[in-house]
């Protein structure tokens, strides 16, 4: 378990707007190889900014006033991600880290079929692959995310919101990176589909040993799928522990609030109508 993949130390991000926003403040955390690390916290607390920041996806006016991000590759080498050149970082991003962006359902190219967009990933990053192998890989991905191979020729607007979200998950899994960062990847999915996909991701993770950082506001879901959970508030990590510890022995007041405030399906209705 103590095999680190990514170490983030004293990491900060500020948006230098008219009224500067310190969106991430002195965050330290480690992602271990093969684990699912959940990242929870209220809207606007800095989850997306942190995920973007460590992958160097931020644009001005965002600045990184301090901190370090170190990648510990499976091949034994360490890389300082903040020091990597732009091109090297770009290659790194696809090959080693992939991301499912929040709002990904609108990130697809509207004038290309989803099959072509998935095939593109292989064409660019696995040029040796034959056309036939590519198509087979695309169909396999569509099946993994339960959209089904029959939709290979559909355009994004012909798919439902949840289906588009699943195309983006498929894209992130395509090249079998060592780390998959998922930012609210299942907001449009009901629990049944969510579970099927998470089951697929878990079995892929067991087969290929990648790590997942799963960002969501959905704490009940996170408790079930994560090995560890980091709770973020106002730009800082206030608590990080195993899912079990977070559930049975939450240390921070805010974690307790988060745990107690979700409505139970079968409880008394609180809203008098």
């Amino acid at each position: 378990m103590s095999d680190p993949l990514l170490s983030v130390r004293d990491f900060s991000v500020r948006y230098e707007t008219a009224a500067p926003v310190d969106a991430v403040r002195d965050v330290s955390l480690t992602v271990h190889r093969g684990e699912v690390l959940g990242l929870a916290g209220e809207s606007g607390c800095g989850k997306t900014t942190l995920a973007y920041g460590v992958q160097r996806l931020l644009k001005p006016p965002a600045v990184i006033p301090g901190g370090s991000v170190t990648w510990h590759d499976a091949d034994g080498t360490d890389t300082d991600l903040l020091a990597l050149g732009t091109d090297a970082m770009m290659a790194f991003r696809w090959d080693k880290i992939s991301m499912v962006f929040q709002g990904a359902m609108s990130a697809l190219n509207p004038v290309a079929t989803v099959g072509a967009q998935l095939a593109d990933v292989f064409e660019v990053h696995r040029p040796a692959m034959s056309r036939r192998a590519r198509t087979a890989a695309v169909v396999e991905l569509l099946e993994i995310v339960k959209v089904g191979g029959a939709r290979i020729k559909s355009y994004p607007h012909e798919l439902s919101g949840g289906m588009r979200q699943r195309i983006m998950i498929a894209m992130a899994l395509a090249l079998r990176p060592q780390l998959v960062v998922m930012d609210e990847p299942t907001t449009a999915l009901d629990v049944l589909v969510q579970r099927e996909i998470l089951r697929e991701i878990t079995s892929l993770r067991e087969a290929f040993g990648f790590s997942v950082v799963f960002i969501t506001h959905d704490l009940p879901l996170l408790l079930e799928i994560s090995d560890r959970i980091a709770v973020m508030r106002a730009g800082q990590i206030v608590e990080i522990d195993t899912a079990e510890q977070i559930w049975f022995r939450p240390q921070h007041e805010y974690t307790r609030t988060l745990l107690s405030s979700f409505p139970r399906l079968t409880a008394e209705r609180k809203v008098a109508r």
């Binding site: 606007g44 029959a150 629990v191 559930w247 409505p263 139970r264």
Partner: protein, 265 residues
């Protein structure tokens, strides 16, 4: 009192290289002022298609939509007026906000177009609406990409409520909000409902909030209404196997950890 009736609506789409798909098959229901109907169902079951047909972004293949007994307007000024009365919160706040416009513009425009407040009070109303969805006044001059996902979702809700519609079709309106904000926004909707008789179609995959905030729940499966009844009836005593499955799959940490470690909290 406003009533919108969906009567025997079907919608068939062509799927490239794979025949066609019945996104909706013979769907009927009635939504009235002062009422909330929750609509749940698997991804791809046709929920957004219902929303698109209600707002006339899509036309049904067969069947009709009636507003107070008359077919809903399909073009021109009448359609625009209809869209101020029946407002929509789109499923995707990343695509539905205009990247070139400030948050102020997004909320201000429907206020000006509908004339619900005198010109001198528009700015104050913008701030009031943003405060209602718990957004800081400091966001008014920002553009959508300068906000977090959940903040954008709340802008979309403020914009939809701005012209004081009589009906609201909300497609996964709170999917990116943490629980406390989520409950806050839904309470806001039920307050407006109590005060002004707003009718709400609440499309969601969150069974718990659907039950809390809805009078009735409709369960869609592959384009068909498989269950429609009072919220408690559908959630507590589901009759359709799909509804039961949906219910059983809801994450419940209490029983999850009880099974795993055999201890209670």
């Amino acid at each position: 009192m406003t009533t919108i009736e969906v009567r025997g609506v079907s919608k068939t789409y062509r799927v490239r290289g794979a025949g066609s798909i019945d996104a909706l098959a013979d769907v009927s229901f009635t939504l009235s002022s002062g009422q909330t109907i929750g609509m749940v169902g698997q991804s791809g079951s046709g929920k957004s298609t219902v929303a698109k047909i209600l707002t006339q972004m899509e036309r049904p293949t067969s069947g009709q939509v009636l507003l107070d007994g008359a077919p809903v307007p399909s073009r021109g000024a009448a359609l625009r007026a209809y869209r101020q009365r029946l407002r929509m919160v789109f499923q995707d706040p990343f695509a539905s906000l205009n990247p070139y416009h400030s948050i102020r513009h997004h909320v201000e425009r429907p206020l000006v177009l509908s004339g619900v407040v005198p010109p001198g009070e528009v700015e104050a109303e913008v701030h009031r609406l943003l405060a209602k969805v718990q957004l800081d006044a400091g966001v008014v001059d920002r553009r959508p990409h300068e906000l977090s996902g959940g903040q954008r979702q709340r802008v979309a809700i403020a914009r939809a409520l701005a012209p004081r519609p009589s009906l609201l079709v909300a497609d996964e309106p709170v999917s990116m909000l943490d629980v406390s904000l989520r409950m806050g926004v839904l309470r806001l909707l039920s307050d407006i409902q109590a005060a002004d008789g707003l009718g709400v179609l609440y499309i969601t995959h969150d069974l718990a909030t659907a039950r809390y905030f809805s009078d009735e729940i409709i369960v869609l499966n592959q384009g068909r209404v498989v269950e429609h009844g009072s919220a408690d009836e559908v959630i507590l005593r589901p009759r359709h196997p799909y509804t039961r499955e949906l219910r059983e799959a809801s994450p419940d940490p209490e029983s999850f950890f009880a099974d795993r470690v055999g201890g209670a909290r």
